[in-house]
Amino acid sequence: MRDVAIIGIGVTKFGELWDKSFRNLIAEAGAKAILDSGISGNDIDALYIGSMSAGRFVGQEHVGALVADSSGFTHLHIPSTRVEGACASGGLAFRQAYMSVASSMHDIVVVGGIEKMTDVVESEATNILAMGLDQEMESFFGVTFPGVYAMIATKHMYDYKTTREQIAQVAVKNHANGALNPNAQFKKELPLERVLKAPLIASPLGMLDCSPLSDGAAAVVICAADIAKKYTQKPVKIIGSGQASDMFPVHGRENICTFQSTVHAAKKAYKQANIEPKDIDLAEVHDCFTIAEILAIEDLGFVNKGEGGKAIENKITTLDGSLPVNTSGGLKAKGHPIGATGISQIAEIVMQLRGQADKRQVKDAKIGLAHNVGGSGATCVVHILEAM
């Protein structure tokens, strides 16, 4: 298996983008990534696209070939594959692309992620997202994503004495970071009081504990590491990639406050990278709900189980903390266009490792981690990146 590097990134603005269609968005992200990488269209060997439910959100399946065609690559007749793993679709597509280059099957691959979620009404979007849960055992009985994460939050508060304020602080921190990200859906700081007083969605989680519905796309260009410097002065190497799964519905898990998929995916990625959690300089984690970020920093080994809330309170994960988490604003403030999320996390880490993150730049960032979760933790994919 050979080394693989990221040589280009492209992200669209995230938000309610009523004037941009599914195909506009992915073509924009892809074009930005290709321009950033310095490759030409003819250099591309394959495309991968992460998208959770283009069929239900915009009535379009078969998006692999559609993306190749609408991006102007019809004449290349290259393979173009759509990958789906609920909210981890982007991260999984990235891993598939990575493996295809690592295995020497391809040399240069563009991998994108996209979701166009605001063409349906909010209640329909909630139903579509709930398809990432277990239809027979969870959704059928009326539980939605906010419901599942609210149960996890309640249990976390009970077992580990995590406070409502600690959970809410995740949103405060991520909005502070989002305010510094020009592509974020919410570029406004959020006072703690507002999070605590927001309308209740599923107790204890309120409106401002939840990531939004978003339109957006992201793309990156990867290639064999030995040719990376041909295209860019600042390639970023993929030093670890781990993917794992877990019991599909939440209720059968030994401890609903631990995502075993995260634990196992991270273990594999750390092993491959030959590093430990303490070596990570910054991380983008899957904060689809505020409580999910607390789970993530525990399951990724940054803090002990049960100490996530304290870590947030002690500001360890803020931009100037010892381990900045979700410098992009995370899913909460940057936005969460499902399929695009995993790829946009990679793009943020690359930006940070290149030293191009402007006002949200983490000093001396060398190694970054991206953590993308599917459903309520049945799928997880973790990537570790290092500046070359």
């Binding site: 309610e16 009523w18 004037d19 605001t118 009404v121 909010e122 007083k197 309308p199 209740l200």
Partner: protein, 349 residues
Amino acid sequence: MDNIGIVSYGAYIPRLRIKSSEIAKVWGKDPATITSGLGIIEKSVPALDQDVATISVEAARNAIARCGIKPQEIGAIYVGSESHPYAVKPTGTIVGEAIGATPNLMVADYEFACKAGTAAIQTCLALVKSNIIKYGLAIGSDTSQASPGDALEYAASAGGAGFVIGKEKVIATINETCSFTTDTPDFWRREGRKYPAHGGRFTGSPAYFRHITECSKKLMDRVGTKPEDYNYVVFHQPNGKFPTRVAGILGFTPEQVKQGLLCPIIGNTYSGASMLGLASVLDVAKPKDRIFVTSYGSGAGSDSFDITVTEQINELQKNNAPLVSQLIANKEYVDYATYTKYRDLLYWE
């Protein structure tokens, strides 16, 4: 369009009110957040015996009472509403009969979400200009619907205004009008459905703000005026915040908006909203005052009007009918339970 315009006007607002805080309480929302967020303190509520026909008749009678024209001289009545009591059978015939304008009369009911009333003004203007009719009566009125618990419930209210359009005894000349129309599905109610649906925040920038700003700019370009040339400006008012925001975008000041902004205290009267705003301005306007009006109807379109008040306004018998401020002051509060009865939200067999 020299000296064609408004000959008289009349308004009507039902007496009952419900406070935003009362609705918020029922749905477990923070009353202060809702009230300040939407900029609506209370809204008018139609009683069981009030509908678009009765509101339109009241507004029409008030308009006639002020100018003293003979109802038989009215050649056309157009009633704009999205809550006509009948799906088939016009409201306009009821109004025509009630004020004694039948039978030599053109009548049609209009629907263009919240701007059907201003569309009726445009039709009457054209008919008067072409000498097909002497006077036309344009009415915008609604008893707007909102699904229980929907954000619209804080706004959807009832009221209306009627304008007599003609060439003689014109109290306010309509110098110019234009429209801006696209197919933009921001808010709709399907045939047979009791409550409308909407696209949430999509009703903002691509819908309300785009159409109002484009239409307003087009009219000012055409007439050669600037925002500061106007004493008053009236915009459609779906909540208390949008009109001031769109005014700011276009370069109007909050002072210009104030007299025509009624939504904070009566809610969104839909087809009646910009018409009642204009009526409120005419209640206080003086000769030579210049008024700018832009309505907005979902679906979507805007109508803009450039209006100059004439000396004739001093001759209008304003006190023969209630001023908008008097209609607003005459109120009685209901609680949410009473509201559900009046708005037919209860289900029984």
